[in-house]
């Protein structure tokens, strides 16, 4: 990590407000990812609806405080829609595929029951639905929804193109493909808007089927033009060169990676299946991981890369990643609270409790909202040269 970043081309202006004494900059994308994945891990530990709601609120707070105005930074509400639909699907399925009603339950309503033959009696369709069944389905769905929102928060807060730069060198082709594909949609929208505007200025038709032809052709031409330019630019920067890898080293890399993946697979199987023999678990996992790392190192040697304007990793990055990891560690440590409080009982119904240590851990993760540096203001984001210069208006001449 270089001690200091290069000066930005456009010196960002400090925004008035609570953060006025701090220099706005973008946080290292990996710091956000570590923070969000750690929080998702912490969420996987608990089924307590109060803690899950707190996680959602903390995510919302951090996003409000630290998101930029970039296109990917406006997507959190779609993750919230996804979360709501996850909970709804879970509740509906629990009501349709009845899991049985006990005499102690609070009976809510009864769905028409479709009888199943005796050899298929394990699955029941319809029947009585209890409050407990719906609540447990909702809480279960809420946990998955929280984990989805954690991933959504990382996608909202971190710049996806910059995050791809931390891929190991051996996988750079994959990174290139992903970068190109995620920049296609915004570029298409941009060129459609431009063509549309040009037609309107010329008092041309902007609606209807015939106008569609007048828009689609220039947009396609624009896309072709762009991809040719991109290909030329990538070629001039040395992408797609095989490098000086011999046949032997390529074979060795392939063998190492293949063996490593096999090790990881059998390791995961051994860890998850309790009846599997002991050496299949952790040792196999560790050996597989080692082999994979060796393969990636070896494969990365044929690619020599330099990084342009590397993202610095400073105190703020440590703080954000650290508070996420610490919250996960606290929830898994089982110290200072009763583990049963993380999974309040639904059968029989009881009010959930709010254990002190997990609550503090989740609030600690929310500290990322003010530990991270304030985001670059809108003008500075637009001025960075990572956005390609405006294309000539050639496309609109069609």
């Amino acid at each position: 990590m270089p001690p200091a970043a290069m000066p930005r081309p456009s010196a960002p202006v400090a925004r008035p407000g609570s953060d006025e004494r701090r220099l706005p900059r973008t946080l290292h994308p990996m710091a956000w990812w570590v923070w969000a994945l750690a929080l998702a891990t912490a969420v996987s530990r608990t089924n307590n609806p109060l803690l899950l709601i707190l996680v959602l609120v903390v995510l919302g707070y951090v996003i409000t405080m630290r998101r930029t105005e970039a296109p990917w930074a406006r997507g959190f509400k779609y993750y919230l829609y996804l979360a709501v639909s996850v909970v709804a699907i879970r509740v509906v399925f629990r009501a349709l595929f009845a899991t049985g009603v006990t005499p102690h339950d609070h009976f809510l309503f009864s769905l028409p029951h479709i009888p199943t033959p005796s050899w298929y009696a394990g699955i029941q369709l319809g029947g009585p639905v209890s409050l407990e069944a719906l609540l447990s389905a909702a809480v279960d769905g809420l946990r998955l929804a929280c984990m989805l929102c954690c991933i959504g928060a990382a996608n909202t807060l971190a710049n996806p193109k910059r995050a791809l730069r931390v891929l190991p060198g051996a996988l750079y082709e994959l990174g290139v493909a992903v970068t190109v594909s995620i920049s296609v949609a915004p570029q298409l929208v941009q060129s459609v808007q431009r063509v549309h505007r040009a037609r309107r200025l010329r008092a041309g038709r902007t609606k209807g089927l015939r106008a569609l032809r007048g828009i689609v052709v220039p947009v396609l031409e624009d896309a072709l033009e762009r991809s040719l330019r991109l290909a030329a630019a990538m070629d001039s920067r040395g992408y797609g060169r095989a490098g000086h890898a011999t046949k032997r080293s390529r074979r060795l890399t392939g063998a190492l990676l293949l063996l490593g993946m096999c090790g990881l697979c059998s390791g995961a199987y051994g860890l998850l299946d309790a009846t599997a023999p002991k050496p299949l678990g952790l040792p196999s996992m560790a050996a597989g991981a080692l082999l994979c790392v060796a393969g990636l190192r070896l494969g990365g040697r044929r690619v020599t890369r330099t990084s342009y304007r590397p993202d610095p990793w400073r105190f703020e990055e440590w703080a954000v990643a650290g508070c996420g990891v610490l919250s996960a560690v606290l929830l898994f440590a089982d110290v200072g609270f009763n583990a049963a409080e993380l999974n309040p009982s639904i059968y029989p119904l009881s009010w959930p409790t709010l254990p002190l240590v997990p609550t503090a851990a989740i609030l600690l993760a929310g500290a990322a909202g003010f530990l991270a540096p304030p985001p670059l203001p809108t003008q500075a984001v637009r001025a960075t040269p990572s956005v390609p210069a405006q294309h000539s208006e050639k496309a609109t001449t069609a």
């Binding site: 609120v57 919302g60 029951h113 009696a121 209890s130 309790a274 583990a339 999974n343 409790t353 709010l354």
Partner: protein, 303 residues
């Protein structure tokens, strides 16, 4: 127009509900109730046995009337179970008896949090022995669907099983657990009916699964070794009516756990907790939400 449409709709709905009602198997409320152990005979009542030996406890056995389901048998007279969050109450994850350690349910949360389906290496496996049979049969139905026959034995043991059925079989034989008396012994009525909790009637239209193949099998299967046909003269397995938790069968030599009769008891008290944590959470949500909203407002004003 609208009224006619509405009326047509209502008629259609009525027909549909009638059809649906005809389709559903009308299950009469099962009047299952816990009984003292002496009420179970070779041909009446179902014996429930639960093995707590994993946690240093005995094998409890109690008696319930038929018709019943395996689930009801396990949720009356002081017995309670907990399902998993993933599968609902039908998957028995914990079992507790109010007469053993104050109704604490096993396995405790430290051993299994009962959120997901427990692993095949540590779960409550469910075994049946039909009247007269002296071998255990692994239950092919869930506890809510299985209907024990009169005179049969239901056994729950904690541990692991394998697909082949060679591991995790019960160490006790059905004959060590079942009732051997042909006539009920002791008091006729379930004692202290005000203190004991009967299984409540199931909600309407509950599917309790297929009916048992032999609803009433008064004649036990003619297996030669079956000891059930003759009322056993030995005094050991016939407890007196007042026997609450008296050891009955003498433990056979070896490591077999002790068998103890579990009398019908009142349910263990359940604390529903307080609503203060919810109020605290609501306060925190308002606080954090307010802070975020304030910051967003300031940012918008400054731009």
């Amino acid at each position: 127009m609208t009224t006619r449409t509405l009326r047509a709709l209502a008629r259609a709905a009525g027909t549909l509900s009638l059809t649906v009602g005809a389709l559903t198997v009308a299950a009469g409320p099962a009047a299952a109730s816990p009984q003292p152990m002496g009420q179970c005979t070779t041909s009446a009542g179902a014996v429930l046995a639960v093995d707590f030996s994993r946690w240093g406890g005995p094998v409890y056995r109690s008696c319930g009337t038929t018709p019943t389901t395996g689930y009801e048998l396990l949720n009356q007279g002081g017995w309670r179970t907990t399902g998993t969050g993933h599968d609902g109450p039908a998957f028995i994850c914990r079992i507790g008896y109010s007469g053993y350690q104050g109704g604490k349910q096993f396995p405790p949360p430290a051993q299994d949090d009962c959120v997901l389906t427990p692993p095949a290496s540590a779960y409550w496996s469910y075994w049946h022995a039909d009247p007269g049979a002296n071998t255990w049969e692994y239950s092919q139905l869930s506890a809510m669907l299985y209907k024990p026959k009169p005179g049969s034995v239901d056994l729950w043991i904690f541990g692991g099983t394998n697909v082949q059925g060679t591991e995790g079989r019960p160490t006790l034989s059905p004959d060590q657990l079942r009732a051997h008396n042909a006539q009920p012994t002791g008091g006729s009525a379930p004692q202290g009916s005000d203190a004991t909790k009967k299984a409540d009637p199931l909600p309407p239209r509950t599917d309790t699964g297929p009916a048992p193949e032999h609803p009433a099998s008064p004649s036990p299967s003619p297996s030669g070794t079956s000891p059930t046909a003759s009322p056993s003269p030995s005094a050991s397995p016939s407890p007196s009516a007042s026997a609450a938790t008296s050891p009955s069968t003498a433990p056979p030599p070896g490591t077999s756990p002790k068998v103890v009769n579990a009398a019908p008891a009142a349910d263990a008290a359940h604390d529903t907790g307080s609503m203060t944590p919810i109020a605290v959470t609501a306060g925190l949500v308002v606080l954090i939400g307010g802070a975020g909203g304030y910051a967003a407002m300031r940012r918008r004003r400054s731009e």
